[in-house]
C-alpha cells in the first residue's frame, strides 16, 4: 500500500435480503490523492452502491474503508466529520428547494464549520463566478435549468472544501445539450488537482479526464487500468462485451 492512498477499501460487501442479493461482493480498491477514478459498468453492477458506500450513505455489510488514515467503518467513528471532507454530487442534484442558491451553498459552512455568513457568502460567490452562475445567486433551484442545478450542486459540495469529490452519475438526468457544461466544470476541477471518484456513462469523459478506470460487474471490480488499457486493450470478455454495447 502506498502512503499516498486517500481512501483504502478492503473486501467491501453490501448484501440485501440476508445475503440473497449481493450488490457488492468483496471490493478492494485504493484511491490516491489527485486521482480521477472513473467507475463504469452496466446498471445493477454495484458501481453506485460502491460510491455511496464510500461516505456511508450505504452502510456496508462487511469490509473496511479507511479515509485519511481513519477507519470510517468502525462503529465508534463520527462519520459526520469525515463526510465534511467528502463532497458528493447526485444524479438528481438534490438542491434544497426552499433555499436560494446562496442559501444552499452557505448553510453547511455556516452551521457546521461555524463560518460567518459574510465569509461563507464571499466564498460561495467566488465559486459561483467560476462556474458562470454568479448572477443566479439569489434565484431558487426551481428557476434553474438542469445543467445549472448540477453546477450549483458541485459548487455547494466545494463550499465545504472537501478532499475528495464523489460523483454519482452526475449527467444521467440531464438533457443532452446540458451534459457538456457540467462535464466542463468537472474537467476544470480535475485539472486543479481535486481527487475525484466519478460513476458515469460518459465514456468520453472517462477517456479524456480519467487517470484510472474501474469496470464493475456483478458487485466486484472486473478490471481496472488506465483509460488506454481499458478502452484499447480490454482483457476480460465482460468488459469487451460491455464496451461493444456502449457508444464511445
Amino acid at each position: 500500500m502506498s502512503d499516498n492512498a486517500l481512501i483504502k477499501v478492503t473486501n467491501l460487501k453490501k448484501h440485501y435480503n440476508g445475503g440473497k442479493v449481493k450488490a457488492l461482493d468483496g471490493v478492494d480498491c485504493e484511491i490516491e490523492k489527485g486521482e480521477v477514478v472513473v467507475v463504469i459498468g452496466p446498471s445493477g453492477s454495484g458501481k453506485s452502491t460502491f460510491l455511496r458506500s464510500l461516505n456511508l450513505l450505504e452502510i456496508p455489510t462487511d469490509g473496511q474503508i479507511v479515509f485519511n488514515g481513519a477507519d470510517i467503518t468502525a462503529p465508534k467513528t463520527n462519520i459526520n466529520k469525515h463526510r465534511q471532507k467528502m463532497g458528493m454530487v447526485f444524479q438528481h442534484f438534490n438542491l434544497f428547494p426552499n433555499m436560494t442558491i446562496l442559501g444552499n451553498m452557505t448553510c453547511a459552512p455556516v452551521k457546521i464549520l461555524k463560518k460567518s455568513k459574510k465569509e461563507a457568502e464571499e466564498k460561495a460567490l467566488e465559486l459561483l463566478d467560476r462556474v458562470g452562475l454568479k448572477d443566479r445567486a439569489n434565484a431558487y433551484p426551481s428557476q434553474l435549468s438542469g445543467g445549472q442545478k448540477q453546477r450549483v450542486a458541485i459548487v455547494r459540495a466545494l463550499c465545504m472544501e472537501p478532499e475528495v469529490m464523489l460523483f454519482d452519475e452526475p449527467t444521467s438526468a440531464l438533457d443532452p445539450e446540458m451534459v457538456g457544461e457540467v462535464l466542463e466544470v468537472m474537467k476544470n476541477l480535475a485539472s486543479q488537482g481535486m481527487t475525484m471518484v466519478v460513476v458515469t456513462h460518459e465514456m468520453g469523459f472517462a477517456k479524456e479526464v480519467g487517470s484510472r478506470v474501474i469496470f464493475f460487474d456483478e458487485g466486484v471490480i472486473q478490471e481496472e487500468g488506465t483509460p488506454e488499457e481499458i478502452f484499447q486493450n480490454p482483457k476480460s470478455e465482460r468488459l469487451k462485451s460491455f464496451l461493444s454495447k456502449v457508444l464511445i
Binding site: 450513505l57 462503529p75 463526510r83 447526485f90 438534490n94 434544497f96 448553510c107 455547494r156
Partner: protein
C-alpha cells in the same frame, strides 16, 4: 295597495317579535356574556390543546420516522440505540392506535372522572384530553410529511456533514411544515369543533353556553344559530390566516 300595507305590517310585527326574542336570549340577564365566556373557553382549550398536540405530536413523529428511516442501518450498526428506538417506536405506535381508536368524548370523560378526578380546574382537564388526543393525529400528519420529502434531500444534507438531527432541523422539517400546512389546518379546525363536546363534563364552552340559553329561555333558534355563526366565522378567519401563511411560504419557490 291594501295587500302591500298588510305585508308591511306583518313584516313589522315579525321584526318586533324577533327583537323581543333577541332581547330575551342575549340582553336579559346579560346572557350574551355567557356566549363570550363560552367562546373564550373554547378558544383557550383549542389553543392550549394545539400547543400540547404540536409539541407531543412532533416528538412522536420524530420517533416514528427516525425508526422507519434508519431501521436498516441501525440494525447493521447494532447497539443500544437500535433497541431503545425500537422500544420507543413500539410505545408510540400503541399510543397512536389507542388514541385514534377511542372517541374523544369518551377520552374526555375518562380524564375527567378517572385520571384527573382530583383536578379542580375543568379547563386544564379539557386541555389535557384534547391535547393528547390531537397529538396522535398531528404525529401521523408530520410523519407522513417527513416521509414524503424526497430521500435525496436527506442524503444531500448528510453528505454535506450534517448529523441526523441537524439534517432534520435545517433541511427536512422546514420543507415538511410547508407540505403539511393544509392538513395541519384541517386538524386545527377539527379540534376547535371537537371541543364542543366539553359540555359533557360541565365545561362552559361555546356550545354549552348556547345550550344554557336555550334551556333558560325555551328559545332554540336564536341561541343555536348564534353559536353556529360564531363557529363558522372563527373557522373562516382561521382558514384565511393559514392561506396567507401558505402563500408567504410558497413565494420562496416561485
Amino acid at each position: 295597495m291594501e295587500s302591500f300595507k298588510m305585508l308591511f305590517l306583518e313584516l313589522k310585527e315579525l321584526f318586533f317579535e324577533l327583537k323581543d326574542v333577541f332581547i330575551l336570549c342575549f340582553i336579559d340577564d346579560n346572557r350574551w356574556e355567557w356566549l363570550v365566556e363560552g367562546f373564550v373557553n373554547s378558544i383557550l382549550i383549542t389553543v392550549l390543546a394545539i400547543v400540547i398536540g404540536l409539541f407531543f405530536g412532533i416528538v412522536l413523529a420524530a420517533i416514528r420516522s427516525s425508526y422507519d428511516k434508519n431501521e436498516e442501518s441501525l440494525k447493521l450498526r447494532g447497539g443500544a440505540g437500535y433497541i431503545l428506538l425500537k422500544i420507543l417506536n413500539g410505545v408510540a405506535k400503541v399510543y397512536i392506535t389507542v388514541i385514534r381508536g377511542i372517541p374523544v368524548v369518551v377520552q374526555l370523560m375518562i380524564w375527567y372522572f378517572v385520571i384527573l378526578v382530583t383536578q379542580d380546574n375543568d379547563i386544564v382537564v379539557a386541555v389535557v384530553a384534547f391535547g393528547f388526543n390531537s397529538a396522535a393525529y398531528v404525529a401521523e400528519i408530520f410523519r407522513g410529511g417527513i416521509m414524503s420529502i424526497d430521500n435525496g434531500q436527506f442524503e444531500a444534507g448528510r453528505s454535506l456533514g450534517f448529523n441526523y438531527v441537524q439534517t432534520m432541523i435545517y433541511i427536512v422539517i422546514p420543507q415538511t411544515i410547508k407540505a403539511t400546512l393544509p392538513t395541519l389546518l384541517n386538524e386545527i379546525i377539527a379540534l376547535l369543533k371537537e371541543t364542543s363536546v366539553a359540555g359533557y363534563v360541565g365545561i362552559m364552552d361555546l356550545t354549552k353556553a348556547g345550550d344554557l340559553i336555550r334551556g333558560r329561555t325555551f328559545e332554540a333558534f336564536m341561541p343555536l344559530i348564534a353559536v353556529a355563526i360564531i363557529y363558522l366565522i372563527t373557522v373562516v378567519v382561521l382558514t384565511k390566516v393559514f392561506s396567507i401563511i401558505e402563500r408567504r411560504l410558497r413565494k420562496s419557490e416561485r
